[in-house]
């Protein structure tokens, strides 16, 4: 699948961080949607199912792990990459138990992020074929 067809949703309450990350992805041919909190993320998923959500764990309001649980219940095909910090590695591990595809520490390496997105999309494709 061509990168321009990837359906990616980025979720983080750090506006500058996530919009800059979106711009960098756009320069690499990926056009993500952006949400700034858990509520908007769930609304964005309901509106159009993404293939991958890049989701910050620590957000005000609905926390990342709750968003993950709700998305996995309503849209099990969606793959979730969690963004954690050094104080929230445990959340990343807990997220894996709840069905996250993987977790990454901030700050990100953009090439690694894109590789993980690609792996998540491949995995979802294979899982759909098996199902």
């Amino acid at each position: 699948m061509n990168k321009k067809d990837w359906k990616i949703l980025l979720v983080d309450d750090e506006h500058e961080f996530i919009t800059t990350l979106a711009e960098r992805l756009e320069l690499r041919g990926i056009t993500p949607r952006v949400a700034f909190d858990g509520e908007s993320a769930l609304a964005a998923v309901a509106q159009e199912e993404p293939q991958v959500i890049v989701l910050d764990v620590l957000m005000p309001g609905i926390k990342g792990l709750e968003v993950l649980e709700r998305v996995k219940r309503s849209n099990p095909r969606v793959q979730v990459l969690l963004l954690t910090g050094h104080g929230s590695t445990r959340d990343g591990i807990e997220g894996m138990r709840l069905g996250a595809f993987d977790y990454m520490m901030k700050p990100l390496n953009i090439d690694t992020l894109i590789e993980k997105m690609e792996s998540a999309i491949d995995y979802a494709g294979k899982a759909a074929n098996l199902g």
Binding site: E16, F17, T20, L27, G85, H86, G87, K106, P107, L108
Partner: protein, 208 residues
């Protein structure tokens, strides 16, 4: 301990914010690098600009390491059922002590030691005890020395070994007596290092 837990909670929140700030700086620097790569031809100062971005990235890494060590300290007063992981605590302690050591022209090194060794002490108690042993050594060592801290296992116990020539001169003096008192209060043992050089702290085992 209540005060330490309170300060830890504040510090943990602040280090999380610092991490977000550094991550945003890193992304913004990355975006400038990207834009330079796609449309930087003819930009007279491209090389200086790139060098500036490299410095920015290096400083972000430096800030991240510090913020990680500080975050560890913020959680250090918390009791964990499995006990503190000794190598992890020493990595943060040595990272934060290096500046102090450098001011005294001493090169502080953490030897690549055993990971997974635990003690019943809280990380804060462990760091406080090791910090006291480091303070003794730093006060003694001549400029240009190297001070090596290692985490080892001896007889089923996690031990901290501080290789510091001249440490034996401290025995019988107040800084060493203070170290012995603190160790005793925490259930840790203090003995001389191999050949009478340096000091070995034997840490209490975590409860099974």
């Amino acid at each position: 301990m209540r005060d330490a837990l309170f300060m830890g909670r504040l510090t943990a929140g602040a280090t999380h914010e610092m991490q977000n700030i550094l991550a945003t700086i890193r992304e913004s620097g990355g975006l400038m690098e990207d834009l330079l790569a796609v449309g930087g031809e003819g930009f007279a100062h491209a090389e200086r600009f790139k060098k500036g971005l490299c410095v920015l990235a290096e400083q972000v890494e430096r800030g991240m390491a510090l913020s990680e060590q500080l975050n560890y300290c913020a959680h250090a007063p918390e009791a964990t059922p499995a006990g503190a992981e000794v190598n992890e605590a020493m990595r943060s302690l040595v990272g934060l002590y290096r500046r102090d050591a450098a001011r005294k022209r001493v090169n502080l090194v953490l030897a690549a030691g055993r990971t997974g060794l635990r003690t019943s002490l809280r990380a804060l108690e462990l760091m406080g005890l090791a910090g006291l042993a480091l303070d003794c050594a730093l006060a003694l060592l001549p400029q240009g020395s190297q001070l090596m801290l290692s985490v080892e296992e001896q007889g089923g116990l996690a031990v901290l070994r501080l290789d510091s020539p001249g440490y034996e001169a401290l025995r019988g003096q107040e800084p060493f007596a203070e170290l012995e008192r603190r160790a005793r209060a925490l259930g840790a043992g203090v003995s001389a290092g191999p050949g009478g050089q340096g000091v070995v702290l034997s840490l209490p085992k975590p409860q099974a």
